[in-house]
């Protein structure tokens, strides 16, 4: 048995192919990556563009590159002020964009063949920082201790949409970094869920806020999980379930970060 590590965050994640993709033989074009560094949980979630022929790879490589850049930047711990976050994310997204360009150059294809959205987050006891390019969603749980459960979940990142339902921004476009949106929250966030847009209409209510009857059981599930690998399997099975597929035929991703009790050893 290896020595256990002091761990602040439980991290669970799954990306599942949508039924429209399984029907047409396309791979899952969603990807995700996460890790814990210096007591902070770091997450990246990516959704490859539908008709871009290498977007599955684009999503995977972009999320991994962004995570590696964030991990390096956070190795000294959470920034003492909110200011550094814009640069941390700008660098992470530039690294991810550059990764797509290298892939494109090696393959002799244009960058847009690897087009993907990218949503990133860092979370610690000191707060939450989120960067958005595209149409993913981030829902955060900050207990207020009040009786109003709905007040505890808030939308930390919302989808960027053009006028039309099938328009958003992609990392591969030339002006991508100009559309990056960064937000830093000082609330003591205890749980965070990052999702791609396949689940959008299932998890946000008519006021475009987190639909609590979805997020409460998701949180309860995360708390109950003993074994992360088993938890990931159960999350994937849920995303692949008939109940979910009846409502969306898109690829689906959920990454969940939960604050563990102090002194928890993995």
């Amino acid at each position: 048995m290896t020595t256990s590590t002091l761990t602040n965050w439980r991290l669970l994640g799954a990306s599942v192919t949508g039924t429209s993709h399984t029907k047409s033989g396309l791979p899952c074009q969603d990807a995700h990556a996460y890790c814990e560094v210096a007591g902070c949980a770091l997450i990246a979630v990516a959704d490859g563009a539908g008709s871009a022929e290498r977007s599955a790879e684009g999503a995977q490589r972009a999320s991994q590159a962004a995570l590696a850049a964030m991990a390096a930047a956070l190795s000294g711990g959470w920034p003492a002020t909110p200011e550094p976050w814009r640069d941390v994310f700008a660098a992470a997204y530039a690294a991810a964009k550059s990764e797509l360009e290298q892939l494109a150059s090696a393959a002799g294809r244009p960058s847009r063949a690897f087009a993907t959205t990218l949503l990133c987050a860092g979370i610690s006891d000191q707060g939450l920082a989120v960067a958005q390019l595209g149409d993913g969603v981030a829902a955060a749980f900050a207990p207020t201790g009040g009786a109003n459960a709905a007040g505890d979940w808030f939308l930390a990142a919302q989808p960027q949409r053009g006028e039309y339902a099938n328009e958003t921004y992609f990392l591969s476009q030339d002006d991508a970094l100009q559309h990056l949106e960064v937000a830093v929250y000082a609330e003591p966030v205890r749980a965070l869920a990052l999702m791609t847009d396949g689940l959008l209409r299932l998890v946000l209510n008519g006021q475009r806020q987190p639909h609590v009857p979805f997020f409460e059981p998701l949180l309860a599930f995360g708390v109950e999980v003993d074994d992360a690998a088993q938890g990931n399997g159960q999350l994937a099975a849920f995303l692949a379930s008939e109940r979910v597929c009846a409502r969306t035929d898109d690829d689906k991703t959920v990454v969940l970060a939960l604050r563990l009790p102090p002194g928890f050893r993995a």
Partner: protein, 234 residues
Amino acid sequence: MALTVLDQAEFADNPEPRCPVVLLLDTSGSMHGAAIGELNEGLRAFKEAIQADRLAALRVEVAILPFGGSVKPIDVRADTSTAFEPGQPFVIVDGFDPPILTANGDTPMGSAVRQGLQLLRDRKEIYKANSVDYFRPWMFLITDGKPTDEWHASSQLLRDEEARKGVIFFAVGVEGADLQILGQFSGQRAPLRLKGLAFGELFQWLSKSLSAVAHSRPGEQAPLPPVGWAQVDT
């Protein structure tokens, strides 16, 4: 897999994004007989084809603006338990009752295009007010003649809206249509001439195209199916 508390996760109930299409249909006197008959059949085929795609049936919304003598939107709702609002004639295909159109009168095409654009503009405002997402609207015009009303201003309005990417416009000329005039309505796309009275094929194509749009995700240029129903001018 064992039951988990995830089975208790409830989903929000949100409206599907909408793909609005307004059909501007020439019902002038010259369409009388076989032409209007085939057109009506085509509308039935259109509904059936889209309904086979459950997602498209809930996303594609239709409004029909026949123009023959006069122009005004008609009530094509299957559920007529509430009053018809001519300002909001759109209905999702699942709730669409194909009309039986009759042919009579002249060809107020200019007015039809102007009204069609207004209907789409108003529909977008309703979507925005109700937080409903939408795809770029389609305007589809079928004629067997040429306008008998003032049409230059309308065609400019349409070209401007196309340039703004506010609408996707297709024009189809049936035998007898003046394609030269029809061609002036769009800055993006030449009009096509229908093969005989192949309305069935035309509406199958339209339903496939709209289904492709209804399924399209960010970053997808939904390629349109091949246009088998059109004549190639030699």
